[in-house]
Amino acid sequence: MRATRPAASLALACLLFALFVGAWQLSSSTGFGTAEVADPEYAALVGAAAATGGQTPFPSPFEVAARLWQHLTDPFYVRGTNDQGIGIQLAYSLARVLAGFTLAALLAIPLGFLIGMSPLLYGALNPFIQVLRPISPLAWMPLALYTIRDSSISSIFVIFICSVWPMLLNTAFGVATVRREWLNVARTLECGALRTAFRVILPAAAPTIMTGMRISIGIAWLVIVAAEMLVGGTGIGYFVWNQWNNLSLADIVTAILLIGVIGMVLDQILAMATRAVAYQE
């Protein structure tokens, strides 16, 4: 990539943002999105408010900005179970993601290490992994609800299931592809199995493992919104679904923005950790 001037990029980004907001403002003031809807299936889907014929215009950028400001200035209020601050909802989602992700890492990294070291184990487990990996994590939800009988723990389980595969496969790949000459160095220095594992294989595979963790946290943050829409109760996914039922589109747009920002922050934290363990050959 050629060197870019950050100031010019920033100016262009601001311009594009202004154009986007302008177009949005224009379309919301000319009535786009307020058309009468008659399709009964659609009415059933959007719920009571829309079905009774209430007209909800798509919010203008200023309405959304005002709502965002309201949420940001008072994120942690509790007014009953169905009306809690957006900060609390995000905290619920984050806690579930971190719990599921941590459990997945605790299982996937040691297991991936073993699989990467042993071609026998790799051959034996690979068919299972190949079948389980492409399953949508939400497909596990009914089974989880049935066996665990707790919606919150079920969401954590779904996060666990979806974040375990990238970490498992990346760890196994990183460990299996450690350069032979580094292993030979360890052998000529008479390093034991543990010292070789922690001082040679782990640092050698660390960038690949961290890449797996970064993919996992991204998927987990995608899945938690859907999982919480499904099981309800608390969390940002439930918040979005609840505001949909209230037909409060400004709240939904606000939540979408915040989901994006938090996803980016999670990704950047792991990107930083990846850089910390990176090495140049």
């Binding site: 000459e181 030979n184 160095v185 000529t188 220095l189 008479e190 050698a204 660390a206 090495y279 140049q280």
Partner: protein, 287 residues
């Protein structure tokens, strides 16, 4: 029969043939010895099996037949007593130069305190002239500096035998010359037993007491052992003025250009694998 310090006794190495081809014998029934404190070089064309021999001596690879006996004991695997300097330096890229050396020091002395390890590292870093680059990672070091770190790492385990696989082949001529002199000095000072693979005839004449000449593969053989009778200490600057230097050099170059290929299929009838003939081209010229 008296055994030399390192005794290679009839080793063979075969690799399975690719897709149904018959197994390939890299070499078979190979015999040679290295005396304690001796510097032996192995010269041969690419692919004749030099690295394979060195890996077997290091214990990283196993011979299919025969054995390697060191100080009366058959080797069964790698050992801290046999340090290896790899062709591709093989430094751990996530550690600094000092970290790589410390890793070796801690392998030899797991009970040492942090201060003792640091002290030892400083000693080896100074010895190979790397003080300014101690905290630098390998990727930021030049080829010559990387090989210096590799050399310090090998010495840091206080080995009895130093095994070197074309350690200077990737370096420019100037750096190579400086490093050759340093290796010459350090190996002489520490009285190490050394075995080195090289492509470079002048390097072999400068460093080695004996030079093993290997024919082309497959089924490569040690055709001849050239005894280097040029007096020590030798330096790059005056070695070519020593009487007998050109006879020695020509003998080896002739072997590489012509006889290594000609002998590959048909060794002369008087040649035997167990007692490879020794020649002294420099001595016969000097007298």
């Amino acid at each position: 029969m008296r055994r030399p310090f390192v005794s290679v006794e009839g080793i063979a190495r075969r690799f399975p043939g690719v897709s149904g081809a018959p197994p390939q014998t890299v070499f078979a029934d190979l015999w040679f010895g290295i005396e304690e404190g001796e510097f032996v070089c192995l010269i041969g064309h690419s692919g004749c099996g030099k690295t394979t021999i060195l890996n077997i001596l290091a214990g990283l690879d196993r011979a299919d037949d025969g054995a390697v006996v060191v100080a009366g004991r058959e080797i069964a695997g790698p050992s801290l007593d046999r340090a290896v300097i790899f062709q591709s330096h093989a430094l751990l890229p996530w550690l600094s130069a000092e970290g790589n050396i410390a890793f070796a020091v801690k392998s030899r002395h797991p009970d040492w305190s942090r201060a003792q390890v640091a002290e030892a590292c400083r000693h080896w870093i100074d010895l190979v002239g790397l003080a300014a680059a101690a905290t630098t990672r390998p990727a930021q070091l030049s080829g010559g500096m990387k090989q210096r770190v590799g050399f310090a790492r090998a010495l840091a385990v206080s080995p009895k035998i130093l095994l070197m696989d074309e350690p200077f082949s990737a370096l420019d001529a100037l750096t190579r010359g400086t490093l050759q002199e340093e290796v010459n000095r350090i190996v002489a000072e520490t009285k190490l037993t050394a075995f080195m693979i090289t492509h470079d005839v002048d390097e072999a004449i400068l460093l080695a007491d004996r030079i093993l000449l290997m024919t082309n593969g497959p089924e490569a053989k040690i055709a001849e052992v050239v005894v280097n009778t040029l007096p020590r200490p030798r330096t790059r600057h005056d070695i070519h003025h020593l009487p007998g230097y050109y006879e020695l050099r020509n003998h080896i170059v002739d072997f590489l250009i012509d006889r290594s290929r000609r002998l590959a299929g048909a060794m002369p009838p008087e040649w035997t694998a167990r007692a490879v003939p020794e020649v002294r081209p420099a001595a016969s010229a000097a007298t």
